[in-house]
Symmetry: C2
Subunit: 204 residues, 2 copies
């Protein structure tokens, strides 16, 4: 199909498709003349993925590029792959942050410190730091409760990782992590509104 049809089928404007091509997010079509190229279903599928990562996934263009690169060139061993893939999703490194509290929580949860490097721990350290500087510290019991709940979710998800091909595994892990995050947050907010209304709302 031509770029105009690719645009119609995907709902993505032509100018945006051209931007993705220039940025290397979308692979080139097969050139049929100096000004035209043919695109196929692989372009349509990739456009859906790009939109999901940039939109609901909330990734930057640079992070989207890293994730797509991981999908296109998966590492050889399942261990390297699953160990590194979350790092590609991490935001760019910010200022130094004290990891002591995060390390303590991870140890209290019984997770293995050697499974993480500093970049893995940074978002947890930053979240704990933000709670404290907002004057909203959580008790150790609350922190452990959150950790256990997330662990239960992650165990289920890791159970489902397809092991038949590295590409399928990367796709599963990357999309599972990135695209399920907004789902979890949306569900938590709705659960809050429902639970609050039941607790504090007018009696029906």
């Amino acid at each position: 199909m031509r770029i105009s049809e690719l645009s119609r089928s995907s709902g993505v404007p032509v100018a945006t498709i051209k931007y993705y091509l220039r940025e290397g997010l979308l692979h080139d079509g097969v050139r049929t003349s100096a000004t035209q190229a043919q695109y196929d279903d692989s372009h349509l599928a990739r456009l859906g993925l790009i939109r999901a990562l940039l939109g609901a996934g909330g990734l930057t263009v640079a992070a989207t590029k890293r994730v797509l690169g991981e999908l296109d060139h998966p590492p050889d061993s399942m261990h390297d792959l699953l160990g590194s893939v979350t790092l590609h999703l991490a935001p760019d490194p910010g200022p130094e942050v004290d990891l002591a509290e995060a390390e303590q929580l991870v140890a209290a949860l019984g997770w293995t410190r050697e499974h993480f490097d500093q970049d893995h721990l940074r978002p947890l350290a930053e979240a704990l730091q933000a709670l404290r500087s907002a004057g909203f510290p959580l008790s150790e019991e609350q922190l452990l409760g959150y950790g256990r709940a997330m662990r239960a979710i992650a165990e289920e998800e890791v159970d489902g990782v397809p092991t038949d091909s590295p590409e399928a595994a990367v796709r599963y892990v990357v999309l599972g992590i990135v695209l399920v995050e907004p789902l979890l947050l949306a569900l938590r907010r709705l659960a809050h509104a429902d639970a609050s209304a039941r607790r504090f709302g007018p009696k029906r």
Copy 2:
């Protein structure tokens, strides 16, 4: 204290403090001359809150302003307050999105549709839509599992809402929702890395 000392104590640059003052995020100090004002601990506490909301909370300046307004002027009834507060945190409305799938999921979870308006449901609808357009649809069983896990977390949190003053309740709900989100996501990613390493890593 003078603005230079407020900057030292809070770690926030003077230029940034002036920006917060101009934007109305931070209340004015007591003017002592044409060019100087005195600040106190209330400014220090508010700066911590602003940094947490803009930083880890990931809110825009406009959303931070709405949240701080809610803290400063809480509504009268606990019900109005808890029912409306999540809406102030919602991102600005985007393009129309089909709510049917989100409504179905909420019903399957046994939550009451009347407790939500469209703006509440939009993030869930968008998350489901993104999963589908990335070619990564979840089974109904998986969706229900996520919903129940988030409901359990929300119930615990609503149990802890202080009911002695509206201001305390708003502060608890807003900070609890906004600042716990990055904590949950950070814990889930670490739990993933730990669970994957145990499952697929080299035997120790």
